[in-house]
Amino acid sequence: MIHLETLVLLLLFLSIIIGGIALVIAIRSMKYINLILSTLVKYPRIFERISRRIEAKKKIKKRYIVFEVLGQGNINMNELDNEIRKNIVALLGRKGIVEVGYKLVFYDESKCKGIIRSNNRAYKFLIGILGLVRKIGNKNILIVPISIHGTLKKAYEKIGE
């Protein structure tokens, strides 16, 4: 019969050995992890290239951009829609509207806030296009993106805040 105290001591001894081995492996692999991290920090373009490849393989999903219009006077939803469409067509052509997946879902004229639908591949580009919209009629405007959401419900919640 093995004594209980000896069994506990044996288990303790074993756990110390396993812990030591794990520590050695962790320290050794840290060198490689550090190397990878430092390369990514030093050369962020590698990271960007990898992320771009991952993004290209990703499934297309909808993204909702909540925005605010700063400017002089009230703006109609149709006017805003036409102006954004005009800018997309000027830069990308009519095909661009389909690729970007643009749609002005909602615009609250009293709050000057709205929601634009796009997709996960082109929402950054669409935000860039919003920067080019500076004038509607004679009114100077600035469209400021507030947040990006995955669902329309969350986007409405953001406007309601």
Binding site: I127, G131, K154
Partner: protein, 229 residues
């Protein structure tokens, strides 16, 4: 489902990180006191922490007054020299660093462009519609060597024709390849000509500049320029 949630959280966190960054807009042109107040308040809303203000002689006193009033947004005095004559630029550079925080030159000849790259008193070389042709490979190498920076005013993007836009894209490609210091500023004359940082990221990545370089051009490069010079 969980992955989608994580991705949305990641986007939110990214937006929050963006709002905590120190953002610089080193070129804002103002001649009116009221416009300056409106511009500063909108710049604050867009997340900018420092503005390079170019204004007339009467306005410089107002600027000092406002720099005490607005403590969230740092105001830097800026001057832009536009010339095609080397001697004229040298003359106007005398004692300029005592009066202004940022000195920029818009070269209208190759001689002035080279001088601007070599001279330690000049912080920025402007590459806009008229001066873009003088910013070539050797100019970019010189700027990299003498730690100057190229400034691209973004208001030019609204008025460039196809030929100039293609020239700009070629220059951006050179800047990326040689990793030359770049600064993106608005060149705004009114509050509605300011650019949100996400607008800039969207439009510049479309023109071929890597996203990391765009963030660098908005945050670290102008900060280094303001701190070191």
């Amino acid at each position: 489902m969980y992955l989608k949630r994580i991705y949305v959280i990641y986007l939110e966190v990214k937006l929050k990180v963006v709002s905590k960054l120190e953002l610089f807009d080193l070129w804002v042109r103002i001649e009116d006191r009221d416009v300056l107040i409106e511009l500063i308040s909108i710049a604050k809303k867009l997340g900018y922490t420092a503005l390079g203000v170019e204004c007339s002689k009467n306005c410089s006193q107002v600027l000092e007054e406002f720099s005490e009033h607005f403590k969230d947004v740092r105001l830097l005095k800026r001057i832009t020299i536009v010339s095609s004559n080397e001697l004229e630029v040298k003359r106007s550079l005398r004692g300029i660093k005592l009066k202004y925080d940022i000195v920029a030159v818009k070269p209208l000849s190759y001689q002035v462009a080279r001088l601007a790259a070599r001279d330690g008193r000049i912080d920025l070389v402007i590459a806009d519609k008229e001066s873009l042709r003088f910013i070539d490979l050797s100019e970019i190498r010189l700027l990299e060597k003498f730690r100057g920076a190229i400034e691209i005013p973004l208001n030019q993007l609204l008025i460039l024709n196809e030929m100039l836009l293609s020239r700009l894209i070629r220059r951006l490609r050179l800047i990326t390849r040689y990793d030359a210091p770049l600064i993106l500023s608005s060149g705004a004359r009114s509050p509605y000509e300011l650019w949100h940082p996400l607008h800039i990221v969207g439009i510049m990545t479309t023109l071929g500049l890597p996203e990391s370089k765009v963030w660098e051009a908005l945050t670290t490069t102008p900060k280094n320029l303001v701190v070191t010079r």
